[in-house]
Amino acid sequence: MPELYVEPQVLEDAGRSLTAERSTLTEAAGAVVPALGTIAAALPGSRTAAAATQTGAALAAALRSAAAELAQLAAALTAAARDYRAVEHGIAVGIERGGRRT
């Protein structure tokens, strides 16, 4: 039996926050490449242009990876909230049945 010290609603809210921030990170990943691409295009023939393209790709990958981590955590928290609710409900039903028998 899991110990329940938190309202499932709190977990759900946290899950929603993580989902929202996952979107922020995904959008950031989408914005970084064009930003560094603008810089690269503005400096044709330079080492900076090559470095900007490379850095843009690396940063975008890191942002997408962080977004994926947030998505996983969001799913876990939402599932935990659902499980806690189910367990709570099961306990309540059991108590009610026991009450009827006595």
Partner: protein, 474 residues
Amino acid sequence: MTVDAREWDADACERGVRQLFTVAEDLDRAYRRLGVAGTALADWRGAAATVARPRMRLATLRVSGLAGLLRQAADAVRSGLGGVADAARLAVAQSPQEAAESIALAVSVDRRMASGLAAVDSVPGPVRLPDPDRTPADVARWWTALPPHLRRRLIEQQPAALGRLAGLPADVRDEANRRQLTTLLRQLRAERDRIFAVVPPVPLVLARTAVLRSMLAVAESVERALAARPRARLFTLDLDGAGRVAIGLGDVDQARHVAVLVPGMGADALHGVGGTVDRAEHVLAEAGRQSAESTAVVAWVGYAAPSWRQVPFATRARAGGRLLTADLQALDAGRSADGGGPAHVTLVGHSYGSTVIGAATRSGPRRADDLVLLGSPGVLADDVGELGLSGRRVYVGEAPFDPVADLGAFGADPGDPGFGATPVRADPEPGLPLPVRLTEAHSHYFDPGSESLRNVARVVVGHDTVVTHPGQAA
């Protein structure tokens, strides 16, 4: 690699840099929201919580780290923008010498930006404050690349060091200095109570009491000034020696116009904080009436202002000038952290404070855009040319009957036509009784309702074409 800067586009580069800073700000906000979400789970107990909470904390820190990396990338390019523009300009010039200069400049700036970008994905080392020999610009770059969680940690754990670090944004120095002020007040009051518990006081204790009283008086005057103005920025707090205090009113980091008020005789940290901040407040209010553009005013009580005994000598003005120059560079660098730009800066000096400004302007690498000299006994120069500014950028106000303004004690009288500055009306407010006008003419330049204050504010907000001149109606 041969670099040809003819097709380089500094404006487009800057757009890319701005985009990166904007994305970094989005990540800063995401980091803060994730922190709030994590705090809401603090009461969660059990096996699942034991696994989930640390993972969530790590994910939050990762977002913070990414914000830092993005700013580091943006700053690596931004630091070269000036060079890019110069190289592109020289590249299209006709002369072979300029073409050669363009190539040299382009290679150098390109190498620097590229190595800055290459460093972005390197693993950051432990957080260390910059070495003391680092310039304010170096400090600003270091801060720019620092992830928000590490910034927070430094502010909380090392406020004393951070508050003194030239090159940080005013907001950061303010938070660090306010924390430090609270600590110092607690320590100084506790020490005072301990000393007064000693009966009878011995000479050594009495000597310490004098120092302690002075430090506590400065700290308490700062405390009073801030209590009345919760949004003020405590830019400088130093209780050692004569003490140094600078308090900014308005958003020093973002404002379009920044004025720095430099007070004169007697206005050291022990005696000058309240009065100088009051005057700064008057200038800020009048600037708000003169222009809708954002303005900040710094009450700079940052040098050992002379007493009657020292005022005939320029020694303190020169020492103050060096400190003022350093603080102006710090202010500039702090604004550049996180992608900000330079402000239109006006130095407003009253009495001996104008001499300090003269010393700073003559010798310092950072020149203000405009100077306003009020009741000036001289600025250590014989004409505006020695200040490195045109006469249209140097304004001189002398109230009628001000005996100090005509002294010319430190170089030529700035109000003399031969000096080359622009004279402005500096009358006190019309309701001031005649006896006061005659006897205290040197002390009413910042009075609300005075033509003097209006002209100061006009210069501060860049409306210098509407300043009134002596003999002209208000």
